[in-house]
Amino acid sequence: MVEDKESQNLTISLCLPTLNEEKTIGKEVVLLKSELVDRYPLLDEIAVIDSGSDDNTLEVAQNFGADVYLADDILPDLEPKKGKGENLWKAIYQLEGDIIVYVDADISNIHPRFVYGLVAPLIYRKEVQYVKAFYDRPLAISGEKRASGGGRVTEILIRPLFSLFFPDLTGIIQPLSGEYAVRRNVLEQIHFPIGYGVETSHLIDVYTKFGLHAFAQTDLDQRVHENKSTRALGKMSFGILQTFLKRAKALDIISDMKDYETILRQTQAIDKRYEQKELQIVEEERPPMIEIEAYREKFNRTLS
């Protein structure tokens, strides 16, 4: 794979977006650097882009040889925003690779396959632009039908929505997985919601701009990470819905829709008292990176 990569003069960057990941980041950097930079030079750079951790995430990552950046220090003239999508978007500006691999930093069973499994389709298949991970470990002796193991938000929100409006995209087995590898010329053309909606928006935008054949999926076997609470999943779903509706409106899939609310109301109980908690969640978006002048200057690009 390394030979094929080099024969195409491709460069590959790994971005690990972080916020307080000191427990898992050390192993991710050690393992991926040792195996995929030193032993098999598949990666040209490993960068941690941090949202402002207050634990030792940056020190740990730097100690084991990653390049570390604070998201706020990248493109400092822009008004800073907080969110994982912001880190992913700024990685396009900061990192040099023709391909950028995004891997979440909270994976406790990290393995080199998380990277080589994602970049292989981009190296071997020129038409592939966007490779998405899914996780499935069938029992060796089981021939029975089973669910493909999407998370709760995938099964309750995303799959029903895609089934209604983008049936082609229901073929994406785990649409919300945080691990994907994408060519720069695609990344620079798409919007980046800075919060929960980034994965959903990518799928819709890449699909509408480049077609279904731009996607590939790769089975990374198993991913172990901390489970989120139902309440956290509610917040996530609300952000995703905003992203989705924005696109549905822009693509004229849903007509005559008013501006939607940005307040999520969740109910919580304290002893026997029930109260409603209001949470403002605004899914702000970053424009395609190609629209940023500093980026065009750095990578010698022009607006078409």
Binding site: V30, S34, S108
Partner: protein
Amino acid sequence: MNSSFNTILDSLPGIENKAKELKEILLANLAMIGEIPAPTFKEEERIEFLINRFKESGIQRHSIDQVGNGVGIVKGENTDKNILLVAHTDTVFDESVDHTIQIQPRKAIGPGVADNSLGLAVLATLPVFLEQLDITLENNLILMAATRSLGRGNLEGLRFFLSNFDEPIKAGIGLEGVELGRLSHTSIGMRRGEVICRIPEQYDWSRFGDASAILTINDVINRINEIQLPQRPRTSIILGSIKGGSSFTTAREAVLRFEIRSESSGMVEDIHQQIEEIINEISSRSGESIELDIFAQREPGGVPFSHPIVQKTRRIMNQLSIEPRPGPSTSELSAFIDRNIPAITLGITHGSNVREKDEAIDINPIYKGIAQVIGTLQTVDGGYCEKD
């Protein structure tokens, strides 16, 4: 000869620095090995990983033998003799335990990380260290990940290899994750076993309240405690664990795990006989079935403190400011002793909570630990450890 050994001593700080430079490779191996569960008799997946590492290092001779040992042989300049570097592959944790390894700047944490994932990681990384340090050896270097070492395994992997490998072995070096400074050169005599007490199905239940496998095991323990142990040769009986019953009702089965240890094999045999008599007596009195199962044993022996391999290794440790702690062990040494092969066991770093799920090792001392192993290897290879 002396100047050459001194050259090795002088090179140790450089080896330590190189080990530090290559820390990511070692720690990556540690994490990947440590996250593969390997309870005794189920070590296949770890061995497969090790063999792949050997292949990637360009080791041409590598194989998995009939008992599952993973072996790689780094060819020496003069291939008549061999040095065997061995680390046991199995751990005390079964597959259901979460084997996630955490890597912090100063510590690595996770089940089995010290015993013996670190030993294996050093074994897997050694070819890289030797290549980077431009070290070639006169003798063949056998890198061996041994299976079936712990508990009922009774060193079966290493014993099998030593019985079937038909080339001469000059010396053996055992690698254990902890403790740095360990310099085991003798093995004490040991027998390891279980006392299993069961209440038979047709038990006389009119003995209301008396019937309990736990009470019977308690009786056995009290009687074992009464056995007179001599001060010389040093002898001990270690009661390792007891298990019995499941709730509030009568316990039908109880198990006591123990080890007899002594500097004298006669004393080990004598205590074994006494425990057998205790069990026969209690069994005939209570009507319960009591079984004594001895499943592992070691014969005492080893190389003396004055042996050049011990003396030279102490000097290597002193040079690296490691405080040497020579002494006996019940590790792999016993298998070497049975075959009259001079051998020592070395520890790589400091650790805590060994054999607990939050087992931890210190990362910084590892570099000294590796320098010590490579220095010892070169010293054996150079012929500085042979008796006059």
